[in-house]
């Protein structure tokens, strides 16, 4: 480490031109690429969502064919999960972890480069299949983001093999990203920064990285089994050949449930960084936050079959997975109560990052409540595969994970660019986003409870009112994000200069660095007391 520190002087030599990005080994440049990649996928995935909502604006088939509708829901889900939320968190990890632990860069910079550059290839394949479908050359993946066999194996379109390769690439990218995060956190912490002194965002990412390493190979395994079923005559999931379609679901959700925590634990870290700053008060219950995060991560491995209550599990299985899932409410509750107590008797101000963080706490908690309802097996028989589930996971993933990412961008953008963003525009973006997200997702609870199945392109008449409201919300939500895009570009280009502290009383090593942060972050390790 010391060798690196000594070689560099205090000025930054940045490579220039295309090479700076293609061959980058710098955590900030790679972080920036991750974030822009995520942002562009957000607009693509969002455009697909708007097509879906436009079709669902009223009963009857208006805009797309049912076959293409299924491709839209599939690609929307895959892009939002693997192309938006996950890369955005990796981008934030790249930017923040070295600065927060007092390191010059990530521990494995070349691998960092590769893990990013696999992503455009992966999503290029996936989006190419959609473009080919639009041009009339076969169907894009059309089996939902959960790609249940045998719909995705025996009955999958030719492009399924594109999809499988794409998932392999994403998985390799995620595993390498996770190895890098773990190696960085274990080896590059500033002297004196013990594990229990690490910033909470670093802790949540540390745990997330282990989850990634544990489950991405499981996903790779399941898609490989699909590949051989489809092309080499095996019958892992084909009942006619002695295989088992339900085994697909067990393997998929053994990956899938930890995956949903991969998409929310870093969000917990972000909210736990922002709320204390704008409450001007230390985070309440730091160590219980760490333990709660670890407990959630552990529990995520023993609850997967709560996605499968209707598959005909034995009652004993249903009871086990119901009880285990209920336990998750406890550490999650601890987190919410801790945020509540952090704000309690603070001295609150409401800049845009804090607005998004507060909205996160309120709305993620909504998603938590519906999650608790869903885990109750006898009630889940009525909720399962309805819009109630769609409402639930959009509350945790949009008003949860995506809001936390927006909060993080507003919170750290001045540190990254050296410029303050336009607060007025930020507030406008927040209010439009927050209100429209609720107009969009809240009515989905009602249609779900009334009996509307998910993933249908057309619906019975009693669902019409709330679908229409949701579609209006969707378009407001979608177009509000253009404000966000404009605001970020404007902030990158210029604006009022940010101080090194950025926010009054902001704590953490990243706020000891000047704004914008130097290219190699901490070239001399700071001393942590």
């Amino acid at each position: 480490m010391n060798a690196v520190v000594e070689e560099h002087h205090d000025h930054d030599h940045k490579p220039t031109g295309m090479g700076r990005w293609l061959f980058s080994t710098n955590h900030k440049d790679i972080g920036t690429m991750y974030l822009w990649f995520s942002f562009s996928m957000f607009f693509i995935g969002g455009a697909l969502a708007l097509l879906i909502r436009a079709e669902l604006f009223q009963p009857g088939m208006q805009i797309v064919e049912p076959e293409f509708f299924n491709q839209l829901t599939t690609l929307h889900g895959l892009i939002m999960v693997f192309g938006v939320i996950m890369p955005a968190f990796v981008g934030l990890a790249n930017w923040q972890i070295p600065m927060m632990i007092g390191a010059p860069d990530m521990a494995l910079p070349r691998m960092n480069n590769w893990s990013f550059w696999l992503l455009p290839g992966a999503f290029g394949l996936l989006i190419a299949s959609l473009i080919m479908s639009i041009m009339g050359m076969g169907s894009a993946p059309n089996f939902g983001w959960t790609f249940y066999a045998p719909l995705s194996t025996t009955y999958g379109p030719d492009s399924t093999d594109f999809f499988i390769f794409s998932v392999h690439l994403m998985g390799i990218s995620s595993v390498m990203g996770a190895i890098n995060v773990i190696a960085t956190i274990m080896n590059l912490r500033a002297p004196g920064m013990t594990y229990m002194k690490m910033p909470i965002f670093v802790w949540t990412w540390f745990i997330t990285a282990y989850l990634l390493i544990a489950v991405m190979p499981v996903l790779a395994g399941v898609v490989t089994m699909m590949l051989t079923d489809r092309n080499f005559g095996t019958s892992f999931f084909n009942a006619a050949g002695g295989g088992d379609p339900v085994m697909f679901q067990h393997i998929f959700w053994f990956f899938g449930h930890p995956e949903v925590y991969i998409m929310i634990l870093p969000a917990f870290g972000i909210i736990s960084s922002i709320v204390p700053t704008f409450s001007r008060k230390p985070l309440f219950g730091y160590s219980s936050m760490v333990y709660a995060t670890a407990s959630i991560a552990f529990l995520s491995f023993i609850v997967w079959a709560h996605h499968m209550f209707t598959t005909g599990m034995p009652v004993a299985g249903e009871l086990f997975f119901m009880y285990a899932t209920m336990l998750i409410a406890i550490p999650t509750g601890v987190k919410v109560f801790n945020w509540m107590s952090t704000m309690w008797r603070g001295s609150l101000t409401f800049e845009t990052p804090m607005l998004f963080a507060i909205a996160f706490i309120f709305l993620f908690t909504m998603g938590g409540f519906t999650g608790l309802m869903l885990c109750i097996a006898p009630a889940d028989f009525q909720y399962h595969d309805t819009y109630f589930v769609v409402a639930h996971f959009h509350y945790v993933l949009v008003t949860g994970a995506a809001f936390s990412i927006m909060a993080a961008v507003y919170f750290w953008l001045p540190k990254w660019t050296g410029n303050m963003y336009d607060e007025k525009l930020g507030k406008l973006h927040f209010w439009l986003t927050c209100i429209s997200a609720n107009v969009l997702f809240f009515p989905m609870h009602f249609v779900g409870l009334a009996g509307m199945p998910r993933r249908i392109p057309d619906y019975a008449l009693q669902f019409a009112e709330f679908n229409q409201i949701a579609s209006v919300g969707a378009f407001v939500f979608g177009f509000s994000q253009l404000i966000f895009l404009y605001l970020v570009i404007k902030c990158v280009k210029g604006g009022e200069k940010a101080t090194s502290e950025v926010w009054e009383g902001a704590k953490g090593l990243e706020f000891d660095l000047p704004s914008p942060a130097p290219f190699h972050s901490y070239t001399t390790p700071p001393e942590v007391k």
Partner: protein, 370 residues
């Protein structure tokens, strides 16, 4: 709640260009069986507990947001931990969860008990229709969506039960414990009647069980709940509960109708008869993929209009329809339809939409090819 949301719904009515609306609902309905009542009760318990917790948590946060602000010159406290309160808000939720788990467990055990049933119906999911087989009664039939394509394509006004109506309803007797056995012919489907609280996956290679007992005669509607391909949204379920006497009468009628249909395979049909019956049978069994006009869906389902198979060798055409095409969405219709239906469909496909081959396929030809 309804008083508040009704105007919002009405306001949105104005946004629609060609609206047709039925009555909406906000909450889960209690349904008509003990199973659905169990689901509803546990749903209400958990939801209201969540509402109360929500009011407390949101209330405390809102109080902080309003009063503990820098704008109001509130000075920040410095506390950052309190072991007692941490233990408290770990233990209280555990107790609440135990309180939820007890009624949930007893409800679940009652719902999953399929013993002592009075009769069994085997339900098989197909892309995209349901097949019902009354076990031991020698009655079985397919149930297809009966909403006309014109309503779906917005060319006709949508009916009251738009997308929730079928050609052959499944009929069950009231006051009897009916056991359902679920399986699938192709991909995973899920049979769901909200009013019964029954939702169970139909999985190829598996037989799942569920049961219901309906006390009141009536018509109950539901849909497939598991994504099963292009027409997942178009395979509804309609159950009619009848008194036992009416049920037995229906069963008798069904038996004689099936005997008549089997006999129709032995006579020789005229071209007009084949074409007329073929159009109906084609639209029911083939139109969802190959489209009523025979043009198919590019990239997903091939056209029949002008296709090599429908205008070429008759034997090959019969083979494709009877045995399906391996590894494609084209099912084997041999086990699904009788000789007369198949002969009519093949004749229709060979002569409709300008295919004009003039070929006529008789039920006996199909029988010979089986």
């Amino acid at each position: 709640m309804r008083a508040v949301t009704r105007p919002i719904g009405l306001a949105c009515l104005l946004l629609a260009s060609n609206p047709s609306f039925a009555d909406y609902q906000l909450n889960l309905a209690p349904g008509v069986t003990s199973t659905s009542q169990n689901s509803y009760d546990i749903h209400q318990i958990v939801m209201w507990i969540c509402v109360v917790i929500g009011i407390i948590v949101y209330g405390v946060m809102t109080y902080s947001i309003v009063t503990h602000t820098k704008a109001k010159k509130h000075k920040a406290a410095t506390f950052d931990d309190n072991l007692k309160i941490e233990i408290l808000w770990t233990v209280i939720p555990i107790l609440i969860l135990i309180g939820m788990a007890i009624p949930a467990t007893s409800a679940l055990l009652a719902m999953e008990d399929t013993s002592n049933s009075d009769m069994s119906i085997k339900v098989t999911g197909y892309q995209w229709k349901w097949h019902y087989d009354y076990v031991g009664e020698d009655v079985s039939f397919f149930s297809n969506l009966s909403t006309p394509m014109a309503q779906i394509k917005n060319k006709e006004t949508k009916g009251e039960n738009y997308l929730l109506e079928v050609d052959n309803r499944i009929v069950i007797p009231t006051g009897k414990k009916v056991r359902f056995l679920f399986t699938s012919n192709d991909v995973i489907h899920s049979w769901w009647i909200p009013a019964f609280g029954v939702k169970k996956d139909a999985i190829p290679g598996y037989i799942n069980e569920s049961w219901t007992q309906v006390e009141e005669p009536g018509v109950y509607r539901g849909q497939c709940a598991e994504l099963c391909g292009a027409n997942h949204g178009f395979m509804p379920i309609v159950v009619e509960a009848k008194s036992e006497a009416d049920y037995l009468a229906w069963l008798g009628e069904k038996k004689s109708a099936q005997a008549a249909a089997a006999a129709s395979g032995n006579k020789t049909w005229t071209m007009d008869e084949l074409m007329a019956h073929g159009e109906t049978a084609y639209n029911t069994s083939c139109g969802a993929c190959h489209q009523p006009g025979g043009e198919g869906l590019p990239g997903a389902f091939p056209a029949i209009k002008g296709s090599a198979i429908a205008t070429g060798d008759v034997a090959k055409h019969i083979d494709v329809v009877l045995n399906g095409v391996k590894d494609t969405g084209m099912q084997a219709f041999g086990p699904q339809l009788n000789d007369a239906d198949l002969a009519a469909i093949i004749t229709y496909e060979r002569n409709a939409w300008g295919n004009n081959t003039g070929d006529m396929v008789q039920p006996s030809d199909v029988k010979a090819a089986r």
